[in-house]
């Protein structure tokens, strides 16, 4: 759902939308009060539809590029909490294992993500201990966001998404770095 008051610019856009709706209602009410009421119902339904429509700017967001110093091949592994094992990606000189602190909508909205972060932290440390030159990090509660954050912070030459292929597709749509997917429990 779109939040029309997320920023001042969006709030101003919302003012314009409501203004146009009001003009339609006033014009209809000028003809007849009940026509005005009908117009109000249609306008309110239209504004509700507009609010629930996903904003198009998500699709227009530029893809994230990333890079690392010469001579290094940093691999970013995205693994869901509870992943048992991952194997070392070929040619990797550095590995960053990112485990998103997956939380339910209620947990995310209320910020009650302590337990989820603890689970993610445990998985990240366990997986990192299995790999050479690796470290574990807890990511955001959205896997794609976790990858974006990691790319901005660490950079990577390759991304490996463990488990869900749909997540790998979503990540591919957001970054220019090569993305591979690996089955859960036995990555790469």
């Amino acid at each position: 759902m779109r939040n029309p008051l997320r920023s001042e610019t969006e709030a101003f856009g919302f003012v314009l939308v409501v203004l146009v709706g009001a003009v339609v209602i006033i014009g209809a009410a000028y003809v007849n009060t009940w026509v005005g009421v009908a117009a109000a119902v249609v306008v309110v339904a239209g504004i509700v539809w507009w609010l629930f429509r996903e904003p198009a700017e998500t699709a227009r967001q530029p893809k994230l590029a990333s890079g690392t110093p010469a001579g290094t091949h940093r691999v970013l592994i995205l693994a869901p909490p509870g992943t048992g094992a991952v194997s070392k990606p070929a040619a990797a000189t550095e590995i960053v294992v990112v485990v998103p602190a997956l939380a339910s909508t209620v947990e995310a909205l209320t910020g009650a993500v302590d337990d989820r972060r603890a689970d993610a932290e445990a998985t990240a440390q366990r997986l990192a201990s299995q790999l050479p030159h690796a470290r574990g990090e807890v990511g955001a509660d959205d896997p794609v966001l976790a990858v974006e954050d990691a790319l901005r912070e660490f950079g990577a030459d390759q991304i490996v998404v463990v488990g869900d292929r749909q997540t790998a597709e979503l990540v591919r749509g957001r970054v220019t770095v090569p993305v591979a997917s690996a089955p859960s429990g036995n990555a790469v």
Binding site: L5, S7, T9, A11, F12, A22, A108, L109, D142, L145
Partner: protein, 202 residues
């Protein structure tokens, strides 16, 4: 000695847990969501009373022999809508580093908001009915008065924003105070458009 070292060690670790929150929803956005939700519920309660009185009970609107000052309310609507443009202009100005635009935009917005509130107060004194003159009058004053209270709060926020703008507190990098205050002002504007259309036009 050991006890003192232990106490110092404990003291070092006496701090609140490290704050963290969902990166899916930032605190300011969540705060705005909750604020909007509470405001919608507040105005919703008054609109429910309005529709109950007008539709369910069939009270004529406005109840004869009273008349609503539609023309003055329309002029007031134009003033308030224009003030949304000026507050938007002030934000766009500071984003580009134009301090004059910021100051002029905020000052104009404040003056227009003040004009709206004074005009509404004058209309209240000349409208010819009072809160005790039936359900119609009560709901009219409740809805427009509730909105007027929001305008008053908005004006207070705008006053602080304007003072800060003239003191040079905002810059192209730091103008969160203008953005958040602007959002509130736009919300007040949207609510007035809805109140005006519902109470005065329909």
């Amino acid at each position: 000695m050991a006890a003192a070292a232990q106490a110092e060690h404990l003291h070092e670790h006496e701090h609140p847990p490290e704050p963290h929150y969902s990166s899916r929803v930032s605190p300011s956005v969540l705060g705005m969501f909750l604020f909007i939700a509470s405001e919608i519920m507040l105005f919703g309660a008054f609109f429910t009373a309005y529709f109950f009185v007008r539709v369910v009970n069939g009270v004529p609107w406005p109840t004869p022999p009273y008349h609503l000052p539609v023309y003055v309310a329309f002029i007031n609507t134009c003033i308030l809508v224009t003030s949304s443009f000026t507050v938007h202009w002030s934000l766009q100005s500071i984003k580009r580093g134009n301090h004059f635009g910021l100051q002029a935009g905020l000052l104009l917005t404040f003056l227009m908001g003040l004009t709206f509130l004074i005009t509404q107060a004058i209309e209240y004194s000349r409208i010819g009915f009072n809160t005790s003159d039936g359900a119609f009058a009560t709901i009219f004053f409740c809805l427009t008065g509730l909105h007027g209270a929001h305008v008053f709060v908005g004006l207070t926020i705008l006053l602080f924003m304007t003072i800060r703008a003239f003191r040079g507190h905002f810059s192209p990098e730091h103008h969160h105070g203008v953005e958040i205050g602007g959002i509130y002002w736009h919300f007040v504007d949207v609510m007035w458009i809805v109140v005006f259309t519902t109470v005065y036009i329909l």
